[in-house]
Symmetry: C2
Subunit: 335 residues, 2 copies
């Protein structure tokens, strides 16, 4: 059993001071609208997910199963001021789920209420179970992994867009979440960065298990093989996912890696290193394209940059947000 | 602060059915005799560390600070039958330390006694603190890492032998333990395989911190970059250690990797991959030799195998147990 969050959700936007603070909630609405029943906003909340406004009582009456904290307080924590709403949710029979660093169980009132009412407090950063060590054995089903030149370059977005595009072609596919926001969106998954180091690849083997031969798991990547803080996570994830295909996610205007003084690797470096290291558990691994995050470029510069990527690497390239992922899907399915 | 175990030790050998069951205790006696005050053996114990026999009361009277479980019960667990001895140790003012999977605190009597007497139960498999994420910043001091073609090929033994040989030449050096047996031997360290995946390299940066320019940390390696279960741990450890030098540990008669259906990599593969991946945090990384575990070979075959390694790789090779580590130290210090 992986960590699972029961839908439908009442999305809690707190008193978010801007849309960015509530971006996790918006991600859920964008990618899994069918899981979202309504939104609960405190006085002063600026974010708006466009869902029906509901109190906890109304949400419970309409069948909400989980109050999902889709926003972040100042400093990335869960403010005390929100706790009474979470307690009320538990008292009215809802689970509470959060991806914040602050553990839900660290609030004594909330923990006591959850125990009293038999509801779950789901901290998606905390792995829900023990995992086996990775077996390295090839399993049936097909898998795609989004990898990156760095952290925060669009690996989750690209994976979700690929899942949607595959569904659009009638192909059986599942997004497999490996980080907290992805888990809240998908409703299940494992935060691989929090798994004890020995079990990284084993956890991913559980997350993306054996499947039908024509089924695609689209696995959300983490970190970068070239990031000095997180390369171990990225390698364990690569070995556990055993991807048949990968997409390199890239932010072409970034000079140094996130939060460390290391130079950015090239897309070429990442393609070669992912192939070399990925062959250990899947000898047939191949790159099916590049997903560039061109938000910092104007339309013309973005198109030129993408054409340059295609010319240099001989694979399709796109900005998933700006131009969609069809070129990647086409290469994935039709060689 | 890393996890630390206070000496001197009263070594608990339990009712070990053979010397192999008590090999952790023997490792402590072999490498850190100055930390060992005496041994405590139950009726039927076959292992003998050659230390003075002591009851818990005698050990406490002579100043023992920690009872160290240096043996393993059937199935790798800590048998209930040993618990009364551990409780007595706590009652007489000793801490208890263990490297077994069974948590010391999982025995209610023992936990209660430890709380009552203010003593520590030290499970060395459990990281003692939170770590930062790795910075990737180069720090002063020199570091050597033992890496491997596989698990269980002599990385800990080689590191300890190198530390001893460096001390023999009057060089300031510290063995840095990354696994449970190494931690019990050194009295401190961090079980990197149990650290949450995001913090592997950060934990190693704490374990082997900035030091004087002529100081050597000899860091115990884990796993293998080619092991499908554990390569993520090995890579994070490599990036965090930032080694100036590494020794490849190898078992020349092994055909497939431990516990998985993967082929053994060659020594050449490991040298090249360690250099390629290690350059991310230390551009000057170099291989200073090969440590072959030739226990399965006769003396002549062992010598021939080692000569072949020297000829093939152009670096010194030895079996540390059989022939010592002087060739490795010579290359390390004198180019």
């Amino acid at each position: 059993m992986l960590l699972r969050i029961e839908p439908p959700y009442l999305l809690f936007a707190g008193d978010a001071k801007d849309a960015l603070a509530a971006k996790t909630g918006q991600g859920i609405v964008d990618w899994r609208p069918e899981r979202c029943l309504g939104q609960l906003r405190l006085p002063g909340c600026v974010a708006d997910h466009g869902l029906p406004e509901m109190s906890v009582a109304e949400g419970a009456a309409r069948g909400a199963k989980t109050l999902v904290v889709g926003t972040v307080g100042p400093g990335g924590v869960l403010p005390e001021a929100w706790v009474p709403v979470l307690v009320e949710a538990v008292e009215r029979g809802l689970d509470v789920a959060s991806g914040l660093h602050t553990r839900l169980g660290s609030f004594p009132d909330l923990r006591a209420a959850a125990e009293r009412h038999g509801r779950r407090l789901v901290d998606v950063r905390v792995p829900a179970r023990d995992f086996p060590t990775g077996s390295g054995r090839k399993r049936p089903g097909k898998r795609l992994l989004t990898v990156g030149t760095d952290c925060a370059v669009g690996k989750k977005y690209t994976a979700l867009a690929l899942e949607r595009a595959l569904h659009g072609r009638g192909i059986d596919a599942d997004f497999r979440a490996t980080g907290q926001t992805g888990i809240l969106i998908a409703g299940e998954g494992v935060a691989v960065d929090a798994v004890p180091a020995d079990f990284i690849s084993g956890a991913v083997e559980v997350l993306a298990p054996a499947a039908a031969d024509d089924h695609w798991d689209v696995v959300e990547g983490q970190g970068s093989l070239f990031h000095p803080s997180f390369a171990g996570v990225s390698l364990g994830l690569l070995h556990g996912a055993q991807p048949d295909a990968f997409v390199v996610c890239h932010e072409p205007t970034r000079d140094t890696m996130r939060n460390v003084p290391a130079p950015m690797p090239s897309v070429r470096d990442v393609i070669e290193e992912t192939c070399r290291l990925g062959r250990l558990t899947n000898p047939d691994i191949r790159c099916v394209g590049v997903a560039a995050n061109t938000a910092a470029l104007d339309d013309r510069a973005a198109r030129r940059g993408i054409e340059a990527l295609v010319a240099e690497h001989g694979v399709p390239a796109t900005d998933p947000l700006r131009f969609g992922v069809e070129p990647l899907v086409e290469r994935l399915l039709n060689g």
